[in-house]
Symmetry: none
Subunit: 409 residues, 2 copies
């Protein structure tokens, strides 16, 4: 059976500057251009025309999962990302360890960027608590960050953030966001939890030690981004393919784990413009020996865009082009269908995601080629794929690789 | 914040004649062509491919309101257009003052085009009546035309027209169009109302005077186009923009008033090929100083199309090009995103609306340009916007002006 790659350049698309250029248009990308020449090109909106997606909702959509059905907030992805084993109906949150005074006024939203060793010890004071019959699961990741999960009957994700998102103000009282009993109960449990956490952490030996060193204590957690763990069909069941994911960011790892893609760890893959580009390229070539499907996400171009750094975005794209050159040299075109695209545009002028479509090319044996000779926002608009949506990508791949069912006789 | 204009050339699109020309293709339109060169072009169906819209449903769709949800008939738009203050659930009709004989046979569908002064006096005989607990609201407009509203419990818009749409036949008995009690009740009330109107108007001093002058009396009203006033989110709430509308036709004013756009009156703007084109252009430039959003409708090309007048349609389009030239000279491109399009095609050969898509260009700073250099039905088909629907227009504008919410992280 043929294999599939979806290679996502995060935040790839842009809007033209005064010279009518974009980082992608200006970048030297001989391999991407070769793929455009040999493949079928177009534009894509991960969710729909005019919809400005997050990376999470965009990836879900491109992988064939309707984000309006499976996505309620970032919490579950964070929790999957840190390796928690979740159940349908769990309510999950992103969390920071933070520092508050005795009146719960936030002094440091990251508790002085407390390190992973100390965080792992404090984690045990929270993980395993039980409040009103609801189980509390908590796991820290990379120090001050963590994921909080509530497991039990009658919970809701319709609750406000405890995190006030700034210092000098009190921790938010968590409030129900609708009139349901479930939301009311969930908010009450969280408010109780924060008090318990403060009581258990404020004078914890770790924090006594930190105060001695002049460091802010990690004496509270600030939950945000509530979401409910959806009923979700695993990728392998949905598509009958063994799938893997190569990415450096927790958010995408969370998606991969939620849908059951194996996460392949690459040393130095960190979701920044300094990621281990070639390490990821080599990992992809290796993964294709074992898996039917590989999702690759390279985050650096998006990071550069959020910083408004045009040249850095261009450089990241050129480095990705070298990755692709390596990959194409080491795979058999007769065996692999390769989708190269972005999850969304992140225009330099906006420093944030936009709804502008991204270029897409589907490359592989016997795709219908078109006249597009360069891979960028302008040229791909003339391609034979026209303007598709993320939900079409997996369907087209299944068809190209002979995996879809015929509807009718 | 950036501002937005949607400029609608009513009935813009056409089908090619034997020379493969359309009025738009043949017209000299240097400004539209400049916008095509500097902007991003495509085709648009206001509602969907193959759907032949009215101007009302097309405008609603382009403004982001689903006409299948909010539109049941033209009555409410007429009623909003004449300035009535409507409530959700009101059932509204378009009406003509007409002339009938003693057997209710229609002799003149416009009561000799009775003038506004006389109509205003007769209006008082109808407005304020109450029948079976239902309040009757009636307002004449421009003489023989008017709007009729029924307000009360248990009404339905599923009733037939009283207007037989021709002379020499009896006024239609109004019938329920479904089996509901509401439709039955509404039809009964309307039939009672028409009898009462005849009794009150037939020998009214105005009509005695008209008969003396040899003029047909206005002794009946003929309701048609029943529709229910929908629950509708005001434009300012939906998009967080202050919006205005510049148009000469009552129908579009009705839409503007229904969604809460301020109607800017322009002297001599009358919805015909002789409208005050430059007055509207100047009003647009002024409005953009005060409003975030301006909808402009120029009706003349549609009027010419309904008359099958190819040359007049071309002339109207050329006059609109001069309007646009004035507007572009007087606005700041860095501040305004400008959509130029039509609401539907009105092919000369059909003398009526068709489902052929209309050309569209979105012009403004940092839109992705394409290779389209002329604004017409053929060239725009090659643009980077491809073939969009009306519902996408506001979403794209919100995105370009940084007003849309991100879905996800």
């Amino acid at each position: 059976m043929k294999k599939c790659v979806i290679f996502i350049i995060d935040g790839l698309g842009d809007r033209p500057n005064e010279k009518r250029l974009t980082p992608l248009k200006e970048a030297k990308t001989p391999t991407m251009d070769r793929m455009a020449k040999e493949g079928i090109c177009g534009l894509m909106n991960a969710i729909d025309i005019g919809i400005r997606p997050g990376s999470d909702t965009a990836h879900l959509s491109i992988l064939g999962y309707n984000p309006y059905e499976v996505y309620t907030g970032r919490g579950p992805l964070e929790a999957y990302g840190v390796g928690l084993d979740l159940k349908e109906g769990d309510v999950a949150f992103r969390c920071n360890f933070a520092t508050v005074d005795e009146n719960f006024v936030v002094l440091d939203r990251r508790a002085g960027r407390i390190g992973p060793e100390e965080a792992k010890i404090l984690e045990k004071e929270i993980d395993g608590l039980e409040i009103d019959g609801v189980k509390v699961i908590f796991k820290s990741s990379n120090g001050y960050r963590g994921a909080l999960v509530l497991r039990g009957e009658g919970l809701s994700y319709k609750v406000s953030d405890g995190d006030p998102h700034k210092v000098g103000v009190k921790v938010n009282e968590i409030k129900p966001l609708d009139d349901s009993e479930e939301a009311k109960k969930t908010a009450e449990i969280l408010n109780k939890l924060l008090k318990i956490v403060y009581e258990r952490l404020n004078n914890h030996p770790i924090n006594i030690e930190r105060r001695k060193k002049g460091l802010p204590p990690a004496n509270i957690i600030l939950p945000r981004g509530a979401g409910i763990v959806p009923k979700i069909e695993k990728f392998s069941e949905k598509y009958n393919m063994r799938g893997a994911c190569i990415c450096g960011t927790g958010l995408i790892k969370g998606i991969a784990k939620m849908i059951g893609l194996d996460c392949i760890e690459v040393e130095g893959a960190n979701g920044t413009p300094n990621t281990n580009f070639m390490g990821k390229a080599k990992a992809l070539v290796e993964a294709l020996k074992e898996y039917d499907f590989v999702l690759v996400n390279v985050k650096g171009a998006d990071e550069a865009s959020h910083d408004g750094n045009y040249n850095l975005k261009k450089e990241v794209i050129e480095k990705i082009d070298k990755m692709l050159s390596y990959v194409l040299e080491h795979i058999n075109k007769d065996e692999v269908y390769f989708v190269l695209t972005g999850d969304h545009s992140t225009p330099i002028e906006m420093k944030d995601h936009s709804a502008d479509p991204v270029p897409i090319v589907i490359w592989g044996k016997s795709v219908r080629t078109d006249d597009v000779k360069e891979f960028n926002e302008f040229s791909c608009a003339k391609g034979a794929l026209h303007w598709i949506r993320g939900e079409h990508v997996m369907k087209i791949l299944l068809d190209l690789t002979g995996r879809n069912e015929k509807f009718g006789a």
